[in-house]
Symmetry: C2
Subunit: 320 residues, 2 copies
């Protein structure tokens, strides 16, 4: 749930008048996005999302995020399309915050993804990667190895509060990954946070991908590893290799994976599990008692990490 | 901002299938209503609000609230209209909570009400009171005198933390009101919480009244006193008698006020100011450090209370 910046009706009307999207009919703050304030905006011209960028998103990254959505939408990816003002600018300001209006995507996210959903996801992820190839801006992954080290330094002293021995496990994992992390895999634009709540379906067809605010340039196969973690474990903690196989097979139909990418999958999956373990540990340990946002369980990702550590090779993910 | 109950896509689809409003297109949790979880629901049939009633709303009051909205909407009041399921029931259940779907109202609430807005409000309030006359259910005002005493007992020991001397002032006010509170004014259905954020305007025309979850049967003129407090003070704390005059004059055009009601306005305004002072004090003193919801300033209502205490008679509100 987001922290909301209040927008006055006068401010909103003046802001929307800078666009060619009609007059405001309603505007409701919505409970989506932890980093930003999001409003579902209805105008006489249609329905849109108005996003106000709060402090956790770096100002300097906004042209990358908005430019990427423009770029992907122009190439047929179902993602929020930035609406440009009459003067051509998509990144504007309201209530003292940088802000943008993007198109509204229909659909619901699935709470219990099926094999068919994983297959649709794989196809969409490959299409995203292909469409991103000629995007001309670049952004480093600030939740890559250097970011993990920084998070680790922040949580190491208190990780035992979550589970005995967790600090040592995380430190050892970080060292292993630092020495085994691939150096030479295909790089491109990745979403980096493609969890089920960022993927909409309508009548079981994938209708859109949202929330590009972790997007960056990194190993394309790392995005697949994020999806393996986010989509292919059952609520009980068991890994569903049928879902993984469907995800990867659908991906490979549009974007074949190099042998090096396939071989790297277990280590990439460990890295991705460690990334979410670390951010969840951070949020858990910095959680304010009584705050409305309930932090997500870090141990879910400790368990996923352990699964990937025990994997012999990519065959564990259903890869032939 | 509300605490949200999560609804799964499967649950939602099964729930909506009990209505004749088409298939779900999207469903977004919205940041409205402190007591309940609210979702902006879009279906192939239109746009609706789905409300899940959380603990703070008594189950036994729900038939009153929903019945009232049905009743008022049938009499032409622009308010949310409960949508009935195929079996006729409007009050249903989802995700373990009582729930209802109501029609969506267009409009924005005004952050800085003008005299014209106050006039439109007065007209709408009188229309609401007239439309409520033949509503056959009744509900006591649990934030009347007995409720104030209970809140007072809860906050008395710590009111000085907000302002020195505030506890004594509140106790004295409570005693004065207990002995001077009117006994014999016209009673009917009142909204009891008609603040600017519960009144929508579209192109400067009043387009709807929302949030009937404090509605009850009490003095009709008390509703007017709530509006005097909520709409006629400037952000600087000054009372704008021109706005008050416009509000009351527009109200009286549709529903003339008895001499006894006019005479009682200052005391009703004090009671209404005390009611919001007490609930805000309660929320302020029970606020959890770091929680996302920022409590509203109780002293705003202490200042309003003091204004009304210094008033000689209804003429202070622009009443001829």
């Amino acid at each position: 749930m987001a922290v909301y910046t209040e927008i006055s009706d006068d401010e909103l009307e003046a802001f929307i008048a800078e666009y060619d999207i009609g007059a405001v009919v309603s505007c409701k703050g919505i409970a989506e996005g932890v980093e930003n304030s999001n409003y579902l905006l209805s105008t006489t011209g249609g329905t849109y999302i108005l996003t106000l960028y709060e402090k956790r998103v770096a100002r300097t990254d906004l042209p990358y995020f908005l430019g990427l959505m423009d770029h992907l939408a122009a190439r047929g990816i179902a993602c929020p399309t930035p609406i440009h003002g009459r003067d051509g600018a998509a990144l504007r300001a309201i209530a003292g915050r940088p802000a943008a209006v993007v198109s509204f995507l229909k659909g619901l996210w699935v709470r219990r993804p099926t094999v068919a959903h994983c297959s649709a996801l794989g196809e969409a992820l490959a299409a995203l990667h292909l469409a991103g190839r000629d995007f001309r801006l670049a952004r480093a992954n600030d939740l890559g190895m250097a970011g993990w080290r920084k998070l680790h330094d922040d949580v190491a002293a208190r990780a035992h509060e979550v589970e005995a021995g967790l600090a040592g496990e995380v430190a050892a994992e970080l060292e292993t990954l630092a020495s085994t992390w691939p150096r030479d895999l295909p790089i491109g634009v990745i979403h980096a946070d493609l969890f089920p709540d960022n993927v909409f379906f309508l009548d079981d067809r994938l209708s859109g991908l949202i929330d590009f605010y972790f997007a960056c340039n990194d190993f394309l196969a790392y995005d697949l590893a994020v999806c393996l973690n986010a989509w292919c474990f059952e609520p009980t903690g068991e890994f569903n290799a049928t879902k993984a196989r469907a995800l990867i097979a659908a991906y490979r139909k549009s974007r074949p994976l190099d042998p090096a990418e396939l071989d790297a999958l277990p280590i990439l999956a460990r890295g991705s599990a460690l990334r979410f373990l670390l951010t969840r540990l951070y949020d858990w340990l910095h959680h304010v008692e009584g705050a409305l946002v309930k932090p997500k369980d870090p141990l879910e990702y400790a368990r996923k990490l352990r699964f990937h550590r025990g994997v012999a090779g990519p065959a564990a993910y259903g890869v032939a």
